[in-house]
């Protein structure tokens, strides 16, 4: 993270320009361009199979788009591998939870901080001095900043694989923010949660976006319109790989194309009311 | 009082085709020794183990022998015998093995390794010489060109590779063209590619250094691929099973025998046959092999050495070697084995090797080759210990 330059809030943090990605015959993204400003929450919505996840994968480096460029803080990052992009400060969560099932919650979050640890293999094997000290410092950070925030004290020593789905999602969020990213991609963080947990999760997202400690820019993919419309600064609507609308939540809600393709006629906040 | 003797045998490993019969022979021969008065009245307690032809297993079993307090070991394979040889020398443990490796015949290096037979290198030289004497003159190309020789054996097996240097040396002496070696595993049953490679060289005679199992497979493939060469086979690949397994493909194959075949009419054979029947009645006589006889011969020289040392009053390793083995001079064990001579400077027992040929599934003597007689100088110095 230190290598990249600091940018002010309000500047463009991430820019996609004309991204095109197809798999064989399927064109999953067709010339998508977006600009995300630092400090905001942007959301991507669209029907199933519209290409939202593919877009996130392009940003985090799991897919390489055939056309178009990705700029992060003004630098082109198309050629970077996923782990290098993580070092630049891009973190993400996944649509189906992708936690490390065999590790404890604490270890999962520690792993999120991987890039901030310094100790190597030799000092690790000896585990005295530097490594021990370092472990302790990070532990403090994790406990005070993340576990407290996400309210998962009671499960910190349990293997994540045994936790219920909702908590796994929360751990995944914890792991992602442990990286102290500047850009956080959230792929359906609310799926499978009940209303109470949705409220909690929405709160967390707002917190990490707004609190001085974090100030993380968020890119959110969600089907839960209530949350999307309430918390985002800007909404993109994808359909079959095309960007059909892009604007403020209010504008998007009223757009007839969006209503027809995605939201459905009868009521706007279909999921929860 | 009893005397403990250890025996390491292969009843299940890569050489079990010949090893099992040998193991039975060892046990029967020890019974015979005990029945006929033991070692000056002391009975022998035999600790016999199967080690599956695996060096590591042999090492562990050797440790076990030490704990059991054996005075001598009846060993088996070349790999393990050679691996143990420095330890055996240090421990002063007489080690009578079924490995007739030439490397073990130099008392300066391996004083405690002993066996009753002509060594592999001598056998190989003799077999090649016999082919050169008897078969090559009958060949249609005789006199027109040099004969071509190739060998086929398991490179990685110390047993199979032991005589290779010697036989190539002999081929050089006799004026052969030497072709590429072929690697055939001791367990091989598919040797097509080796035979095809040989076919490319068109050898007149091929040396087979393995045991019966893989030799028979190689002969069969040579036959079905129409190789058209003669075969000479090392002692441990040349026994009563070969014509059974390879059938027609074994016709004409030549090889050395270090003693009489099972049941042949030679002095002492009646005992061998009788004990085989008595202790292993389940195995019919026509399934027993020359290996039993070889086992008897090894046991009998050990008995002789133990008796001589015991008479002299000491049964430790050094006396068994110095007062036992090294006092034998043209000692006759019968069983068609050569008279045995060990000296303090030479542990090669004999230089005369009978070479046989398979005719209609039966063994026929071709020639008795006397290497010392033919190449006395080389025998005395150059050929010692390899």
């Amino acid at each position: 993270m230190s290598a990249s330059k600091e940018i002010k809030s309000g500047d463009v943090l991430l820019e996609l320009d004309g991204i095109q990605m197809s798999f064989g015959r399927v064109c999953a993204l067709d010339g998508i361009s977006i600009k995300i400003k630092k400090g905001e929450i942007h959301s991507v919505i669209g029907p199933n199979g519209a290409g939202k996840t593919v877009m996130m994968n392009c940003i985090s480096g799991l897919y390489n788009p055939q056309k178009g460029s990705i700029h992060y803080k003004g630098e082109r990052i198309n050629h970077l591998k996923p782990h290098d992009r993580a070092k630049l400060g891009i973190a993400r969560t996944f649509q189906k939870v992708e936690v490390f099932g065999g590790m404890t919650v604490l270890d999962n979050i520690r792993l999120g901080r991987h890039i901030h640890y310094k100790s190597g293999i030799l000092s690790g094997a000896v585990y005295l001095g530097k490594t021990a000290k370092e472990e302790m410092e990070h532990r403090k950070f994790i406990e005070e900043e993340i576990i407290d925030l996400l309210e998962i004290e009671h499960i910190r020593d349990k293997p994540v694989g045994m936790l219920p789905y909702g908590l796994q999602k929360r751990v995944e969020l914890g792991r992602a923010i442990a990286l102290e990213p500047e850009l956080l991609i959230l792929d359906e963080p609310l799926a499978g949660l009940n209303i109470e947990e949705v409220e909690d999760m929405a709160r967390f997202i707002l917190d990490i976006n707004q609190e001085k400690r974090w100030k993380i820019t968020c890119l959110l993919v969600e089907h839960d319109m209530g949350v999307v419309m309430d918390i985002s600064d800007n909404v993109y609507v994808l359909n079959f790989g095309n960007m059909i609308v892009d604007g403020t939540p209010e504008a998007v809600q009223k757009n007839p194309v969006v209503i027809k393709a995605y939201l459905g006629e009868e009521d706007l906040y279909a999921t929860r009311k | 009082a009893t005397i403990s003797v250890g025996a390491l045998n292969d009843m299940t490993g890569a050489t079990s085709d010949v090893g099992r019969d040998y193991a039975l022979g060892i046990a029967e021969a020890i019974h015979y020794v005990n029945d006929t008065g033991g070692i000056n009245g002391k009975q022998i307690k035999l600790h016999q183990f199967d080690y599956g032809y695996r060096v590591p297993e042999a090492l562990t079993k050797y440790k076990l022998f030490q704990r059991l307090g054996v005075v001598a070991v009846l060993g088996w394979g070349t790999g393990d015998t050679e691996a143990l040889s420095p330890t055996v020398t240090k421990d002063k443990m007489p080690y009578v093995s079924a490995s007739y490796s030439g490397h073990l015949t130099d008392p300066k290096k391996t004083p405690y390794n002993l066996f009753f037979a002509s060594d592999y290198s001598t056998n190989a030289r003799a077999a090649l010489t016999a082919w050169f004497d008897k078969k090559w003159p009958k060949h249609k190309d005789y006199g027109k060109r040099k004969p071509r020789f190739a060998s086929s054996y398991m490179f990685a097996s110390p047993y199979a590779s032991a005589p290779i240097k010697a036989i190539k040396d002999q081929a050089g002496i006799l004026g052969f063209d030497i072709g590429p070696d072929q690697d055939v595993s001791l367990f091989a049953i598919d040797t097509k590619s080796q035979n095809l490679a040989l076919k490319n060289f068109k050898p007149d005679v091929v040396w087979h250094g393995n045991t019966t199992m893989s030799v028979s497979a190689t002969l069969r493939d040579a036959y079905s691929l129409d190789l058209g060469a003669d075969h000479i086979i090392d002692n441990w690949g040349y026994d009563e099973n070969l014509p059974k397994l390879a059938a027609k493909a074994a016709e004409g194959a030549m090889g050395p025998a270090v003693c009489a075949f099972f049941g042949e009419k030679v002095p002492g054979m009646d005992k061998v046959v009788a004990y085989a029947k008595k202790y292993n009645p389940g195995i019919p006589a026509n399934k027993r092999l020359i290996r039993t006889v070889q086992a008897w011969a090894d046991v009998l020289i050990l008995r002789e050495a133990l008796m001589r040392a015991d008479k002299a009053g000491k049964l430790d390793g050094e006396s068994i070697l110095k007062l036992g083995f090294e006092t034998m001079n043209n000692f006759e064990i019968g069983l068609g084995a050569p008279p045995v001579t060990f000296t303090a400077t030479d542990h090669r027992v004999t230089s005369v090797v009978p070479v046989y040929e398979i005719k209609n599934g039966k063994f026929q003597l071709v020639e008795k080759v006397d290497l010392k007689g033919r190449w006395p100088e080389k025998w005395a110095k150059e050929w010692m210990g390899w």
């Binding site: 199933n48 939202k52 189906k96 936790l163 219920p164 499978g192 929405a202 918390i231 009311k273 | -």
Partner: protein
């Protein structure tokens, strides 16, 4: 509620994972023949575990029903093997979008018809039905299921369950990750299956509002126990349910997520 004997009766069961982790205790519910029953509850309450206990898949995760009994149409099934239970007519839609990743979408659906007596036309019709409900799947039918989008996988899984002709479907969060438009579709399908084919349904769903709208009766679970069960109308009126499962404020309107209070607001039922 419909008449007659309940098709499924769970009697005071206790479930343990790895022989030491107790997750369900003293749990009883009933599913009436031809009815829909919803099972609500917070994360980790043990809803999925309950469904797995019924379908016998629990064994597969080293879990066990250690006490109580489960009866299906009068037969005890809590000791049976999963495939036997499936043969008796219980099909579960597992959570987590478990498609057969390497098969194509259409093959996935066809595998669903495995238990049916071979009848080509019949299977074709069912395929048509699934494609009718999920037109998106028709477009994707030759794609490898592992590569389609999350929502499409969810459709595939639900579609696959429709292809079986069960007596009882255990649905674990069918609406998860589906676009708003489709969620209604799914619930329509569920009601139609229930009405037209007379399939009983045990529904686990986080979207309490929708679940209560199609299921006449519901149970609320917490910590491996049933803490409340009643008809849907009654539950909808219950202030706790309103607050925690329907997200309604006291005034009745929807609250803005930006206004959610910061302090810990979780309410625990006394168990």
């Amino acid at each position: 509620m419909s008449t007659g004997e309940p098709i499924l009766k769970i009697n005071n069961i206790e479930v343990k994972y790895h022989e030491v982790i107790l997750v369900i205790k003293g749990f009883s519910i009933e599913v009436p023949n031809g009815g829909i029953v919803a099972l609500l509850g917070a994360n980790g309450a043990g809803k999925s575990t309950t469904l797995k206990a019924i379908s016998g898949l629990l064994n597969h995760e080293d879990g066990k029903v250690t006490d109580g009994s489960i009866e299906f149409m009068g037969v005890r099934i809590d000791r049976m093997k999963a495939e036997k239970i499936a043969k008796m007519g219980i099909v579960q839609v597992i959570e987590g979008r478990k498609v057969f990743e390497h098969l194509t979408v259409e093959e996935n659906l066809k595998v669903g018809a495995h238990m049916r007596k071979k009848n080509g036309r019949d299977i074709k019709d069912s395929l048509e039905m699934v494609y009718h409900y999920f037109p998106r799947l028709r477009e994707k039918r030759t794609e490898t299921a592992g590569f389609i989008s999350g929502g499409e996988q969810q459709m595939t899984v639900v579609g696959r369950a429709l292809m079986t002709t069960p007596k009882l479907i255990l649905l674990d969060e069918p609406s998860m990750g589906l676009a708003p438009l489709l969620i209604h579709e799914i619930f329509d399908i569920v009601t139609r299956l229930n009405k037209e084919e007379n399939i009983s349904i045990l529904l686990v769903e986080q979207n309490a509002k929708l679940a209560l709208s199609i299921a006449p009766y519901a149970y609320v679970m917490e910590n491996g126990r049933v803490v409340m069960d009643d008809t849907s109308e009654k539950l909808r009126e219950n202030p706790d349910i309103k607050d925690f499962y329907l997200g309604l404020t006291d005034v009745g309107g929807r609250k803005n997520f930006r206004d959610v209070k910061h302090y810990k607001r979780r309410k625990r039922w006394i168990t």
